[in-house]
């Protein structure tokens, strides 16, 4: 191989008349251009090569025969340019997040850990989203080691995610980098993001950047929808679940004016009209439901630094659960069966725009969204109705302080407006949150191997006063194989006491609360160590991470102190979460991706004056996933097994419970295992998938306490720790057509 290289060296430059081509190479780092030193620049098919200097500048001799300039740098996508004259070049390289990858034919790995981002982030791309059937954001994490998904209760079908063992409300949920799905959308919001609409998801743990707000105590989850200027022309997905679930999703992109003005239309409809009660307790395992959603988004890009995007969506979601005999249109009366009905209507709009100055050192961005949400619901005899109008706006100015971009600053302001009106137990509650805020973040990046980021923000809350949010991140590549990250930061969150916890109404005990709005505060500290090695020609990735969250104020759900009420009260004492996780990713044989992960959760809370384990939280989680594709990727096989640790079940102490014949199962749930599998067959324009969720058919026994007497004093459907639904087989079809 060396010989042929030398041969070329001898023959090629013979007739060459040299001229000098000049240029500058930048790396696109989070949409900012940073000059890249040390980049390899050579003519394709020759050995004439140079490297860029500290300011990213290079000079290379151009011989007559030289046409294709190859620009490559570890950690970035290699770029090839056709060069016909000597006009100075400006080249921007896009980060290639598989650091150090040597380009051979590679599998598109579904999830990977970034080595470049200063914040510990898992990126879930389209390939990973194909591994699980469908259908929405809540179901996209089944192959993910960091995010746990569970039902909040046994009757409403609401799903919760957990990050670091903490409820989803402690993670900042974003769509397209703008906070979303909070307030009234907290309980069902994860089902409002259809899986096939998404292009990718980013899960970052620990404190996030101050640019995104003062929230994100445990982490941040961002979902990106498909972009209207992408290659995709049309995509359709249909899904049939054996338990009666039907789904249809579609999206199409239209290039209105070349690639400058584009629009995307998205539709989603799902329906569950078959009644399922496999455990025979008289209650539906999942509510009957109907959801319809439409989104239209527009993008304008003049390819000279200005870009604008806007869109709006409409959603209706209707769920009916409870006893199987309860029918649509029935009134919530003691003489009727027990029913739970939730209707949601949501309108959303967003607008974001950005401009990058021609010198590439300054950029300005504006992000905003607005939503209007209405809920009408009843749980047995209790009605809960609410409406919310919310606005978020944020302006960010990014500036590199020096030419190579070693020092850069992001500053800006944001504004949150949230108007809430809710009614429970005939108590009307109104409130308005108005929060202007200022923020600044400094990034020091002396080279590719080190990043330090420090941010601070100050927010002026109309109800909670002024508060300051400091955050800090550090990343260091120790040699070729090891990346370390550390982070620390404070986070705040407005707990909407009732709307976030209204699933607790599926219990005979009424909710007791003092404030209908409450501010939670916590510190989060994290440390992560990622190692990359080449073992038998394939990359082995090892990750170890530890995160601690310390609550200063928190809203505690106390189901154990009072036999009459479920008490929602401020924390009085300590509350923390320690999360320790290890992952290993490797291809033991060609095209077989394997992930082994283990996480230990130590989540403790002071409930009723006593520090104890947070109830209904698994003490550990183990995960093994396999993904195999055949040589030409015509078949794909996926298998996932989750090992969920046991935990505590909250019980109100009564004297009879002291008896020795009460089994431990009454206070504790045992570890359980859930398996999923899927087969996908790809054709040129479409693919078909067949799979099963919860293959071993594991179900929590008696998820509804006193199911035979739902209006009686012992009814409770909120002590849920495991799957309520058993094995579910599904079949789906996807069709896609691309622009050439």
């Amino acid at each position: 191989m060396k010989k042929s290289g030398i041969l070329i060296l001898i023959f090629l430059p013979f007739f060459a008349v040299s001229q000098v081509l000049e240029g500058v190479v930048y790396g696109n780092d989070k949409n900012k251009k940073q000059p890249l030193p040390g980049v390899n620049i050579y003519w394709q098919g020759t050995n004439t090569g140079v490297a860029s200097d500290d300011t990213g500048t290079f000079k290379i001799r151009k011989a007559n025969g030289n046409q294709i300039l190859v620009v490559s740098f570890v950690g970035y996508e290699t770029k090839e340019l056709r060069v016909d004259d000597l006009t100075p070049l400006e080249i921007v390289l896009e980060p290639n997040l598989k650091l150090g990858e040597v380009k051979v034919v590679h599998k598109n790995r579904g999830t990977y850990l970034s080595a470049i981002d200063p914040i510990q982030t898992e990126r879930i791309n389209g390939a990973e989203l194909h591994k699980a059937a469908c259908c929405n954001l809540a179901e996209s994490f089944e192959t993910n080691p960091s995010v746990d998904v569970s039902y909040s209760d046994a009757v409403t079908g609401a799903k919760q995610i957990r990050l670091l063992g903490l409820e989803g409300t402690y993670s900042l949920l974003q769509i397209e980098n703008m906070p979303n799905l909070r307030g009234l959308a907290t309980n069902f919001g994860l089902t409002y993001v259809p899986g096939p609409w998404m292009e990718s998801i980013q899960v970052s743990k620990g404190a996030a950047s101050v640019l995104n707000g003062y929230e994100s105590i445990a982490g941040q989850i961002n979902a990106e929808y498909k972009k209207p200027d992408s290659q995709e022309k049309l995509f359709l997905n249909t899904f049939f679940g054996a338990s009666g679930r039907l789904e249809f999703n579609g999206n199409g992109n239209i290039r209105v004016h070349k690639d400058m003005l584009t629009t995307g239309i998205f539709v989603h409809a799902s329906d569950q009209s078959q009644k399922n009660d496999h455990n025979g307790d008289g209650f539906l395992d999942e509510p009957l439901s109907r959801q319809v959603q439409v989104l239209n988004r527009w993008k304008y890009n003049n390819h000279k630094g200005y870009m604008a995007q806007a869109g709006f969506s409409v959603l209706t979601d209707d769920r009916l659960g409870g006893q199987t005999a309860f029918e649509r249109g029935m009134q919530p009366l003691v003489t009727n069966p027990f029913g739970i009905s939730t209707e949601n209507y949501r309108l959303e709009g967003f607008f974001k725009t950005g401009y990058v100055w021609p010198n590439q050192r300054t950029a300005l961005a504006w992000l905003s969204n607005i939503s209007q949400h209405e809920t009408r619901s009843f749980y047995g005899l209790n009605h809960y109705d609410a409406s919310e109008t919310r606005f978020y706006g944020s302006a960010v100015l990014t500036r590199d302080l020096d030419m190579p971009g070693k020092h850069s600053v992001n500053t800006g302001f944001s504004f949150i407006y949230d108007n809430f009106s809710e009614n429970l137990y005939n108590r009307q509650m109104e409130r308005k949150e108005q929060v202007p805020g200022l923020f600044a973040e400094y990034t020091f990046k002396p080279g590719e191997d080190f990043t330090f980021m420090a941010g601070i923000r100050s927010d002026f809350h109309n109800l909670f006063g002024t508060f300051v949010t400091p955050r800090m991140h550090l990343r260091y590549n120790m040699g070729e194989h090891v990346t370390v990250r550390a982070s620390a930061g404070k986070g705040y969150r407005t707990a909407n006491v009732i709307s976030e916890n209204n699933y607790l109404l599926a219990s005979a005990r009424p909710i007791q609360w003092t404030d209908d709005i409450f501010q939670e505060k916590a510190w989060n500290y994290g440390f992560a160590l990622i190692q990359y090695y080449t073992v038998w020609g394939r990359e082995l990735q090892l990750n170890a991470e530890y995160f601690r969250t310390d609550f200063q104020t928190q809203l505690v759900i106390d189901r154990e102190t009072s036999a009459e009420n479920i008490i929602l009260a401020p924390l009085d004492g300590q509350s923390w979460s320690n999360s320790l996780q290890f992952d290993l990713r490797y291809q033991p044989i060609e095209r077989l991706d394997m992930l082994l992960a283990y996480r230990h959760n130590d989540v403790k809370q002071t409930i009723g004056g006593q520090l104890m384990e947070k109830p209904l939280t698994s003490r550990y989680k183990g995960l093994i996933t396999f993904n195999y594709t055949t040589n030409l990727k015509k078949w794909m096989f996926d298998y996932t097994i989750q090992f969920n640790g046991g935990g505590r079940i909250p019980r109100v102490h009564e004297e009879w419970m002291d008896r020795t014949d009460i089994s431990g199962d009454f206070f504790e749930f045992s570890p359980y295992t859930v398996m999923n599998a899927q087969i996908t067959k790809y054709f040129r324009y479409w693919n078909i998938y067949l799979g099963a969720e919860n293959l071993a058919d594991f179900k929590q026994l008696n998820p509804v306490a006193a199911a035979d007497d739902p209006f009686g004093p012992h009814f409770d459907a909120t002590n849920v720790w495991g799957p309520v639904k058993g094995r579910r087989i599904y079949l789906g079809l996807r069709f896609n057509l691309n622009y050439e």
């Binding site: 191989m1 060396k2 042929s4 290289g5 070329i8 030193p37 040390g38 390899n40 050579y42 394709q44 098919g45 050995n47 090569g49 490297a51 294709i68 190859v70 490559s72 740098f73 570890v74 996508e77 290699t78 090839e80 056709r82 040597v102 380009k103 034919v105 038998w536 033991p588 044989i589 060609e590 040589n631 030409l632 990727k633 015509k634 790809y682 054709f683 040129r684 050439e740």
Partner: protein
């Protein structure tokens, strides 16, 4: 340790079965030189060609501008693949396997050379 042994065993078996499939009867190989030049073109062409009739193995590489195809003789022929490549708008000049190996080796050599330059600067 025992598990490591099992993984190793799977690894060996995996390699072995690949070896066998490469020698199957009734298979033919055809190589082309093309003019893709970009990584995206490589991806698009790869996506398209992998569903061609009879195809068993495929390597599309933009760095060396080459395409390697192994297929079942009875199900397709060189012309069929050339037509498919041209349909996507790329050149399909048939070359010998030796020439293909040579082009790939040169491209790979250059790539490694590039990596060395970077390491020296570190």
């Amino acid at each position: 340790m025992k598990q490591l042994g099992i993984i190793f065993l799977i690894l060996i078996l995996g390699e072995f079965s690949n070896e066998i499939s490469a020698q199957k009867k009734g298979r033919a190989v055809v190589c082309f030189q093309s003019d893709m030049d970009c990584a995206d073109c490589e991806k698009n062409l790869n996506e398209y060609l992998r569903f061609e009739k009879g195809i068993k193995d495929l390597k599309v590489d933009h760095a060396s501008n080459t395409i390697f195809i192994e297929y079942v003789e009875k199900k397709n022929d060189d012309k069929g693949f050339a037509a498919a490549i041209e349909k996507k708008g790329y050149k399909a000049e048939k070359i010998s396997k030796e020439k293909y190996d040579e082009l790939v080796a040169i491209a790979k050599d250059l790539h490694e050379h590039g990596q060395e330059v970077h390491q020296e600067r570190d």
